[in-house]
């Protein structure tokens, strides 16, 4: 049995707007083990992106516990969260979020430049390796605008891999892609998982959720169903 990378208990997130409280997450419990491939799904507004933000240390919970690699990270300050995010987490966004003014190689190198003390030669080597892993090394001097959507998302995956993170967080990674490119990206994630990567993916498309080993279903800020795909299907 693999050890836990992420352990979340009684996590809540409340947004305050004027005098209105919005409970985006209400007492969420979840665990992701090393090497696991987890899909989070649920209808729009169920809190899956909020949960992913907190898991990715982009946001902080209102209450509850969150351990990443055995360390409590729920109440870290901004700088510590940035540092951990840079070293432990790789993001794959729905809209790729490549920086248009940077070349493919520079985009992939970007998180490494925020890592103090990494020599330029090592950065270059990692960029090369990551791009080769997603079959985009031949486009490293191109700019994002010169690539197709699928290619851009592969570059985004390479960027997420470059820092050798503990976990890949993918937010609707196929949301902006046609079905063919979407399938290609999902295949790539599957390959990465097969090579040992831990992945947590948000998706509302059951076809893509099916690629994961385990699914977590959210509704109204709560985990309403959790289990292996086959188990969930049987329960349904």
């Amino acid at each position: 049995m693999a050890d836990s990378i992420i352990e979340i208990e009684q996590l809540t997130k409340v947004f305050y707007t004027d005098e209105i409280e919005t409970h985006a997450l209400s007492g969420v419990h979840m665990q992701i083990k090393r090497g696991e491939y987890v899909a989070m799904s649920g209808p729009s507004g169920c809190g899956k992106s909020t949960l992913l933000s907190i898991i990715g240390l982009l946001d902080t919970p209102t209450a509850g516990r969150y351990q990443l690699n055995g360390k409590e990270v729920a109440n870290l300050d901004f700088a510590d969260r940035s540092r951990i995010r840079n070293q432990e987490i790789g993001f794959i966004f729905q809209s790729f979020n490549l920086i248009g003014d940077l070349s493919v190689a520079e985009n992939v190198e970007l998180p490494l430049t925020y890592r103090a003390g990494m020599p330029a030669a090592e950065r270059k080597a990692r960029v090369q390796e990551s791009l080769e892993r997603v079959n985009m090394a031949h486009r490293m001097r191109h700019y994002p605008a010169q690539l197709s959507g699928g290619q851009q998302q592969r570059v985004a995956v390479a960027r997420a891999l470059a820092g050798s993170p503990s976990i890949l967080l993918a937010d609707e990674p196929t949301g902006n892609l046609d079905s063919k490119n979407g399938e290609a990206v999902m295949k790539l994630l599957k390959e990465l998982h097969d090579e040992g990567a831990t992945i947590c993916m948000v998706t509302h498309d059951p076809r893509f959720a099916a690629h994961a080993e385990r699914q977590i279903h959210l509704f109204d800020g709560k985990v309403v169903a959790e289990g292996e795909l086959s188990q969930l299907m049987a329960e349904a």
Partner: protein, 850 residues
């Protein structure tokens, strides 16, 4: 270092990608930084720069004011700045704390020499000289460029006459001809040897627009000096020398100052002036103030310092407005790049790293602006120098940026980049990293709005300060130039010359003056010709204390001073004096007729306040024994001769060649006229060359040292005020444009951001007028808050310029109201364009954006 290189590369790429923004920002910065660098060039050269001499820190000046040029009696407020030659040698010999104490002629402005190389067949020309003590160059630690410099052995009576030529003169007039050194020149017709050339950068002991061409030993004063033919070299009652010394290391200035005061009083006590009854207090209070003299004699610094500092502050404010403007542009760009910032943060970038990256871009931009600013500074400095010193010959200020100016521009560029970059960097770096997960259309709070509006408010407030300052300066200049000087300037011309320099003896003057008057009268179109000691508003003044017949002897401290000059009969008509009572000076007032004087209204007001008739009254200027010397025969209208900011001084006028019965030897020098005034029927082509030719035909040594229209001479009095007024107006206009552009930018950005909202409003029935009103209200609100802050700030700031103003109160409501209206109008115009654009929004299109 790697990160910094990456940041620079990325910043360059960003700037290249947005050429419109980059060019606008660089041009704005170039104007702001360039204006500051140009003003700094002047500030540095005039106020901060040391003389180009060895170890200037060890130089000390004895005296701390700009008194000039030949004074008699006690010093003003008993504070000694001018010294007699004998007092100088006394101090030099009694004060061993000085390694060397040098003396230099105070008034070099009019120290012209008629100069010609002995083997040269061309006409003599008028050059400037300064008499100095023999150890002058030793005090400054200078070595000659060629030949040798003066030594104490040159400065003794009977020494072979040797002078030193300045490098600039050698280059300008003699093409660096090496045979000049050792050759004979005729200075005021006296043969002298040029013994050497000064080092190239040396411009004398003070910053001036007309540095000396020759340095002459003081011992030659009886032959060449301004007092020729009545020498003042050894007259202890004539003060005409400034002193600068090099102190020995470890000398304490306060104790040296006290010691010098004692030695000074010991010397003064021997003089007849201080042995008079009532002078005890003057003697006891007589003192000197020692001041650092690394920058030399700081007369120009004292005269222009306030104005330069004011301009420096004004240009800094303009740069601040430019910074606010660019900060707004950068902020808008930062907001547009917020998504990118969020991605960087999601990938683990620390805030300080993002701030560094954005500051790199700002500083790079400001450095590019600084580079362009150097071009503006070079051109601006040339214009400034031409405006500030229109008559300069060898001005020791270069328009080419010096190392110090380059360093200033670079430092200012860095500072500017930080100032306009820090706030946008801070705001942008506080984007939420979680935004990277959200779609681009998700509504997020725009944190930049308050900062943008604050920057516009700041610009409006500062612009008001500058506009009011510009208005006050312009009004002050208008009052100065438009005041009634009492003169007539139409078709009037002034030529300066020196019969003294042409070696005329006193008994030759009558025939010389007759010939000059007659020959100039004979020129076609010339109506009137006069000769006088000086003319109104040329910067010259002679004054004496007067005593009246039939009145008690004035007590020490009584204000009995009156300015005076000698003039020929047509002088009053040319200048514009009206004879109000009695008569003016006539052809019958000859050297042998009864000495008379004509006085002005201010003289009558000052000395005849009891209503007594001045006509027929007698007065003198050499003590009670002289009270019968001059009989007042007429009263003329007032004309301003001296400080244009002061009331007209009491003046009396005497015929050119009449001599006082008492102390006639003191009257000799004033018989040498130095100004010719001409009145013509209309404009005459090449009148100047005709005048020069006429004088040269009489005597080749009668050279014209200055020639101008009377109007031009008067305008020259306001060069500094004109410079300040024009620059503050220019800066005020620039500030207004920048503030308007800033307001336009913020309003346009706000409209663009609110397009969907405006679409909704219009879909719900808002008409175009209400949309225009909504947008304009916001723009005018910001301008209004800026004005509300600006008015009290302006009110406070104008206090500091009050001393620079003439005939206008710092709190001038007309100027303030005008500035407020101009700014409000500009704000309205700046808001109207985006408001109209907002009103033309197509609701369908706008809602699609949502």
């Amino acid at each position: 270092m790697n990160g910094l290189i990456q940041d620079v590369k990325f910043a360059l790429r960003q700037l290249r990608k947005a050429p419109g923004f980059t060019i606008t920002a660089i041009l704005t910065l170039a104007l702001g930084i360039g204006a500051n660098a140009a003003i700094f060039t002047l500030v540095h050269a005039v106020l901060l720069k040391n003389l180009p001499v060895v170890d200037p820190k060890m130089l000390v000046r004895v005296g701390d004011n700009d008194e000039c040029c030949i004074n008699g009696g006690a010093a003003y407020k008993n504070d000694y700045t001018l010294f007699s030659y004998d007092l100088y040698t006394h101090l030099r010999d009694q004060i061993p704390e000085f390694e060397q104490l040098a003396a230099m002629q105070a008034g070099i402005g009019y120290g012209s020499l008629t100069t010609r190389r002995s083997n040269d067949s061309s006409l003599p020309k008028s050059l400037r000289s300064e008499m100095v003590s023999g150890n002058y160059f030793q005090v400054f630690g200078l070595t000659p460029y060629a030949g040798r410099l003066l030594t104490p052995a040159d400065d003794v009576a009977g020494a072979p006459p040797g002078v030193v030529m300045s490098y600039q003169t050698w280059q300008r007039d003699y093409g660096l001809d090496p045979t000049v050194v050792g050759s004979t020149f005729l200075l005021n017709t006296n043969p002298v040897t040029v013994v050497g050339i000064t080092p190239p950068g040396f411009y004398g002991d003070r910053m001036t627009d007309t540095p000396p061409d020759f340095y002459i030993p003081m011992a030659m004063e009886p032959q060449l000096g301004p007092a020729h033919p009545t020498t003042i070299l050894h007259r202890s009652d004539r003060s005409w020398i400034y002193l600068i010394g090099r102190i020995k290391p470890g000398t304490e200035l306060p104790s040296l100052q006290a010691k010098m005061g004692g030695v000074l009083r010991g010397f003064l006590a021997q003089l007849p002036t201080f042995q008079r009854k009532g002078m005890e207090q003057n003697l006891a209070q007589s003192h000197v103030v020692l001041v650092p003299a690394g920058a030399g004699i700081e007369n120009m610094q004292q005269n222009t310092g306030k104005g330069l500092r004011l301009l420096f502050i004004v240009s800094a404010l303009v740069l601040l407005i430019a910074c606010a403007n660019i900060a707004n542009l950068v902020l808008v760009r930062g907001m547009a790049r917020r998504a990118e910032t969020s991605i960087r943060m999601a990938l683990g970038a620390q805030r300080r790293r993002l701030i560094r990256q954005m500051l790199t871009e700002s500083v790079l931009l400001s450095c590019l602006g600084g580079l362009a600013g150097l071009v503006v500074a070079y051109g601006g400095t040339r214009v400034l120098l031409n405006m500030a010193f229109p008559d300069a010959t060898d001005l020791p200020i270069q328009a080419t940026p010096s190392t110090v100016v380059l360093a200033f521009a670079f430092g200012l560029s860095l500072l500017t980049g930080l100032i306009f970059g820090i706030a946008p960097a801070w705001v942008t770096s506080h984007s939420e990293p979680a935004e990277a997960l959200r779609g681009s259309n998700r509504t997020t709070q725009d944190r930049s709005g308050w900062l943008q509006r604050s920057l516009v408010i700041l610009q409006a407030a500062l612009s008001l300060v500058l506009l009011v300052g510009a208005g006050l300066m312009a009004k002050s200049l208008s009052n100065l130039e438009g005041q009634n000087f009492g003169v007539k300037t139409e078709n009037r011309f002034v030529a300066h010359f020196s019969p003294e320099n042409a070696a005329y003896k006193q008994n030759q003057l009558q025939s010389l003056y007759d010939r000059i008057t007659q020959d100039l009268h004979a020129l076609p179109g010339v109506e009137r010709v006069s000769l006088s000691m000086y003319t109104p508003l040329e910067g010259n003044n002679w004054s004496e204390g007067v005593q009246f017949q039939g009145r008690a002897e004035p007590k020490v401290g009584d204000e009995m001073g009156a300015s005076w000059l000698r003039a020929s009969p047509e002088f009053f008509d040319i200048v514009g004096h009206h004879v109000l009572r009695g008569r003016g000076i006539t052809e019958q007032d000859t050297a042998t007729s009864t000495p008379i004087a004509v006085v002005n209204e201010a003289f009558v007001k000052k000395f005849f306040s009891n209503g007594k008739d001045p006509i027929g009254a007698h007065f003198g200027v050499s003590g009670m024994q002289s009270v019968g010397d001059f009989e007042i025969v007429g009263v003329v209208s007032d004309v301003k001769y001296n400080n244009v900011r002061e009331h007209t001084r009491a003046m009396y006028f005497r015929p050119l060649l009449q001599m006082a019965h008492t102390k006639p030897e003191d009257d000799t020098r004033s018989m040498y006229a130095s100004a010719i005034m001409l009145q013509t029927k209309g404009s005459i082509d090449d009148l100047e060359s005709q005048v020069r030719r006429t004088l040269a035909n009489i005597d080749p040594n009668l050279t014209v040292s200055r020639y101008d229209t009377f109007q031009g001479q008067i305008r020259g009095q306001f060069n500094q005020e004109r410079l300040i007024a024009r620059l503050t107006l220019m800066f005020g206009a620039l500030a207004l444009v920048l503030a308007s552009v800033g307001l336009y930018g913020v309003t346009a950005y706000s409209v663009a951001r609110r397009t969907p909202e405006i679409g909704v409003r219009m879909a719900l029935g808002a008409n175009r007028g209400s949309v225009i009103a909504m947008v304009l209200r916001e723009a005018l609100m910001q301008a209004g808050i800026g004005l509300a802050i600006g008015v009290p700030v302006t009110w406070i700031c104008t206090r500091f310029v009050q001393s620079q103003l003439y005939g206008v109160a710092g709190h001038d409501l007309v100027v303030l109201g005008g500035a407020v209206l101009i700014l409000a109008g500009a704000a309205f115009a700046a808001g109207l364009i985006p408001a109209q654009r907002a009103a033309s929004t197509d609701p369908v299109q706008a809602l699609r954006m949502e």
